[in-house]
Symmetry: C2
């Protein structure tokens, strides 16, 4: 099959290309692959580099924190001081404004929304008693954010995103005029799935918001804050600094975790917000738990020592991930670019490549891949209610498969993109 834009093909050429591509697809099906590129999971070789963490708290360890508290016992709902300091350094936050939680930042995000829903925050009516509550959802975005929002019956409003972040004129319009808009989901650094880094102007525009609702909060999910792929990463303005400059310190809840720094199943999650917010959230969190796993916090602190060592650890991840992302991007460049049937991001960090297929073909591509043994994130998953109006966006997660598997999976992916495009043209 000649590599030229598909829209320049004659009907006869389309027929021939379709036949040829179908044959290539059938050949792949015969291989009976079973590969998964659905989730942003680290690969085993990434997990291996963190194994020494397990020895950082041996049987003869001193189980006490800096403050002298016994980390084996109950207590210290907001976590141990040294873990707060470590994360505060990473996030550009004040340690007093940090709560170190369990193994899941998603759980902390859920808890925040649950508290607003059940109890209400900042003296406002609990959302459960309001007729309508809305959340802004920059798209494409993270399906688990959308699932939490849908769980609480909160209406999701998609907001378009460009290379600088969400369209801030739209955000401002909603947030400042509609008191039923209670929040917005943001992944400010290496966004899931687009990989974009919010520009400093965007961060400043967030900090400058004057919400109509007193209980509006920016859910700032900084999941990939130090997860660079570029050798010389951008140094974006932090939400802490922007809000401090704007005098809007209480505007955001920031989240992060070591899920993709140490272990996804056994890392440490963190939340950062203004002291008054944190005190209010903590009062409610104290009803649902006596405290989080402080030994795992201590294990992490003793393993890393400081934030610079944590950043250095990320270089090891980078060394593993750069070739994987390159494999995906090279294949797309080689197989798809000449045909003019797709655009995609070239992320400088994070866990995803966001691929935009010709309108109306994403579901078909994911189905074709599935039927040939490669599972992708469901088409539409990157939109609220799984509704991608263009049926175009597909999230590619290159991190988990081995390089050899990734090559196969991407070969198949490119065949499926072509096949779906040709089917549509035929």
């Amino acid at each position: 099959m000649e590599k030229k834009p598909l829209d320049q093909l004659t009907a006869a050429e389309i027929g021939a290309a379709l036949k040829e591509t179908k044959a290539a697809y059938d050949a792949f099906q015969a291989k009976k692959l079973s590969l998964n590129m659905a989730r942003g999971k680290p690969g085993p070789e990434q997990l291996d580099i963190t194994m020494p963490l397990l020895a950082a708290l041996p049987a003869d360890a001193d189980p006490h924190s800096e403050s002298g508290d016994d980390c084996r016992n109950y207590g210290l709902l907001s976590g141990i001081t040294e873990a707060k300091k470590l994360f505060a350094d990473i996030l550009g936050a004040n340690p007093d404004e940090v709560l170190v939680g369990g193994n899941s930042s998603l759980e902390l995000m859920f808890a925040c929304m649950q508290i607003s829903y059940v109890k209400g925050i900042a003296g406002c009516t609990p959302w459960s008693r309001l007729d309508e509550v809305k959340f802004l959802c920059p798209v494409p975005g993270y399906d688990r954010h959308f699932a939490i929002t849908e769980y609480f019956g909160v209406k999701m409003i998609p907001v378009p995103t460009d290379e600088n972040g969400p369209d801030m004129a739209t955000v401002k319009q909603y947030v400042e005029s509609d008191a039923s808009v209670k929040g917005i989901w943001c992944v400010p650094i290496y966004a899931n799935p687009s990989g974009i880094v919010y520009s400093d102007d965007t961060v400043r525009a967030f900090a400058a918001l004057k919400p109509a609702a007193k209980d509006f909060r920016i859910y700032w999910d900084n999941a990939y804050c130090i997860h660079h792929l570029a050798a010389d990463p951008k140094k974006p303005l932090t939400i802490n600094q922007a809000c401090a400059e704007a005098g809007s310190e209480g505007l955001f809840y920031q989240f992060a975790s070591t899920s993709k720094i140490t272990f996804p199943g056994a890392g440490v999650a963190v939340m950062n917000t203004a002291k008054a917010n944190l005190d209010e959230i903590s009062k409610h969190l104290g009803v649902q738990t006596i405290g989080y796993d402080k030994l795992n916090m201590l294990r992490h602190v003793r393993f890393f020592g400081n934030a610079d060592n944590m950043r250095a650890h990320m270089e090891k991840h980078r060394a593993i991930l750069v070739p994987k992302f390159a494999a995906v991007l090279d294949m797309l460049e080689q197989e798809i670019a000449p045909l003019g049937i797709g655009t995609w991001t070239k992320p400088e960090g994070g866990y995803f490549v966001s691929f935009n297929a010709p309108k109306g073909t994403a579901k078909r591509i994911v189905q074709l891949c599935k039927e040939a043994g490669v599972t992708l994130t469901g088409a539409g998953a990157t939109y609220p209610y799984k509704n991608d109006p263009d049926d175009s966006n597909i999230r590619i997660a290159p991190t988990y498969p081995s390089p050899a598997e990734l090559k196969q999976a991407m070969e198949l992916f490119c065949i499926c993109v072509k096949l779906a495009a040709l089917e549509k043209l035929a």
Copy 2:
């Protein structure tokens, strides 16, 4: 001060005893103690016996579960199979009906109530949309259960308890006639704080309930299931067996954890209920977390190997705790029994001695102790809304202080009980 029943004292004797007891109290205040008997916290020597757990998953460990899953990575919301088996053995449950969670069983209880409140279970209306929801609360009971219930605005109805458990006639009457009664809190083995073990008849009566509400559940908090103080512990009927015999398998949510087996801050929690219930709960839990800490599950499984070894581990706790409970009981027997100013439990397991002071003196006793440097659980805490109608019950937690501290604290406690009783008589 002569040791005879205070109600036989003359007015003059009361005056003299008051003076003498006040002097003893003042002498204690001068010691400037700072001791805490407020919470059921294991003592440091109990935590020390579990330190080898930290070495059970070394840096060169195979991080895979029996099923071949990598415990370091995302996935397996309900936990790893071998951990389910371990807890199933302890609880007399089917491993398929077990979910292994994070470090907090309280968090799982909260999640269950949250799901009923926000989403509704078994096809029933979410509690947030009902005018009234009630929970039965056997008293005295556990303050953190009551706090969760109050959080969701659920009305708490105290139910009296005797040495066999809650008054089942009252329970049956409420549960079978009132569809707004959605649950009951139970600590069936070594109840918090009374230490009682529900009789087999009581467990059968629970299993035989025919609730008016389809979404009624028994919250069976088996926190102290293997936490024996007696050498030859009772073997009570399990809720699983009772409900299997009664054909009421979906009636209960059972909870437990290793908080007081390994580490309170870094243990593993567990939930057990009929498969259909567990599937429904899991679907909702999957919105709030991707999964719990599987490496800590693996660490626990490799440390214990099997349930018998876990039971053997509890013997080490027993050896530490028996003298502490004896110290408390001996002191009460010696100082309070002759005066006829209190009754108390002599638990065969668990973490508490439940003390009933003369009516109207519990708050005063706790205050007196506090002002002399010994913190007790707040008077009233063992009742819903912190409202002990008799102002009588005080929960004594002997586990955390050292034996020497415990002796001092109990000396002071007895002085305060006497002082409060005498003040009332004077």
